[in-house]
Amino acid sequence: MASSHHQPTDGRPAPPRQPDAQPSLGEILRRNGVSRRGFLKFCAATASMMALPPSMAPAIAKTLETARRPSVIWLSFQECTGCTESLTRSFAPTVENLILDTISLDYHHTLQAAAGEAAEQAREAAMQANMGEYLVVVDGSLPGPGANPGYSTIAGVSNYDMLMDTVKGAAAVVAVGTCAAFGGLPKADPNPSGAVAVQDLVKDKPVINVSGCPPVPMVITGVLAQFLTFGKLPELDQYNRPRAFFGQAIHDRCYRRPFYDKGLFAESFDDEGAKKGWCLYRLGCKGPMTYNACATMKWNGGTSWPVEAGAPCLGCSEPDFWDAGGFYKALSVPPGKPGDTLLAAGAAGAAVGLAAGVMGRRKVKAAAKAHRTVTADELEQKL
């Protein structure tokens, strides 16, 4: 491909700045020639991205005027780079670029130009310059303290040591992707590398989980924008995920839901029901147990999402989704072969019943054989 309409990424991550020279976001935008209408638009788009009602835009505008540029250190551990790929594809480039320009991505070893010693120095410099205020973003799980650290290292440092060292001075930790949030694929049975999630290790700092495999791009930037805007943690669910994005089940926001309620299902991937866009429950859709924003935020700039494309939801934003039974088996269907179990146990039961019955009959027959007729006279004599 000859051209790309993505903004050039040179100059990012920015070199560590002096902490005293921090302009507010409002100042940065005005310096970039953004008018007040442009700012209003930016706030409307940001509200939309943060899954907040449009009426919140003025409040966002107010806080953004004075918001400071937070430093972000992005650590990648046992991961596939899918989360970073997803992030860099968050459509709405203007907004995303502004967010990314506004946050100072000081360390991201996949995206940054520096490598080796220089890269690690950038991380340490950013940590020192922003002690207690920077945000740590983690993608990927990591071998736990009990596991062999050799399964994943960066610059000769084990993931565990790097995480614990970096988190020390952080304001908060954002675990991006199901691997960082819940262990994900590396933790899948039998978990050979002893992988654990970030929240299993980081106990003294707030951890925000942005799960998904990968997460919806707009959800990643949305959570970062929310932290940037309000400077505090969003409301979280029982898995420490922001409620704004993970508050509702896919099933409850699915446009195919009416078909589920009516009992109209696709039975295979190319039958009449599939062509008519009926419910995918019978094809293994895990929508009822999956909490994510796919149904409303969608993917690829709002083009579509798995269910709209005719693929059942795999439940990728839930803990242990990889071990949660067959992807293409209905949620209510148990693993294994329950029919065979039933048949075998039934046969054994029938054998037991047969034996018990035969024994019972023998007893009756024996009793009949032992039966003696007694006359009334004999009985009277006995009394």
Partner: protein
């Protein structure tokens, strides 16, 4: 480079937009917002990006809303297209980035959409700018090409 639209797609089964029914509920929300605007003067913004639209739902909603008398484009941080619907006071506001990709799609139920209004903070800046323009005129006429600021 071929665009997505150039790839021929044969749609089978003929699913009509009416099969996915999220357009009418949104229209009903618009109706309530309009009633609120009449009663209390309170404007409403509806983020269509937060709606669980199925294929065709958005087109169906737009067809239901129709076209009104006003069309406007704002050029700030990329274009923003504003269109009055067939229903007075109901506006479609589409925020686009510099690459013409949609950033957000809102319905606004208001006399004038927020984006079209001149911003109050700009008035003072504008006043200063006009004063700056007027100042040299009162003293001496600037020559061509001479900068005044």
């Amino acid at each position: 480079m071929t665009s997505l639209g150039d790839i021929p797609i044969k749609v089978e089964g003929g699913t009509s937009a009416t099969d996915f029914g999220n357009a009418l509920p949104v229209l009903s929300e618009v109706r309530h917002a309009l009633a609120r605007l009449i009663e209390t003067g309170e404007p409403t913004q509806i983020d269509l990006g937060a709606m669980p639209f199925g294929p065709g739902d958005e087109e169906r909603l737009m067809a239901l809303l129709g076209n009104g008398e006003v069309n406007a484009t704002i050029d700030a941080l990329g274009p923003t297209r504003i269109r009055e619907t067939a229903f007075g006071g109901v506006w479609v506001v589409e925020y686009l980035n510099a690459d013409e990709q949609r950033v957000a799609l809102h319905l606004e139920i208001d006399e004038v959409p927020q984006m079209l209004r001149a911003q109050r903070d700009d008035f003072t800046d504008a006043l200063a700018a006009i004063d700056a323009r007027l100042a040299p005129v009162s003293s001496n006429e600037p020559a061509d090409g001479q900068r005044t600021d």
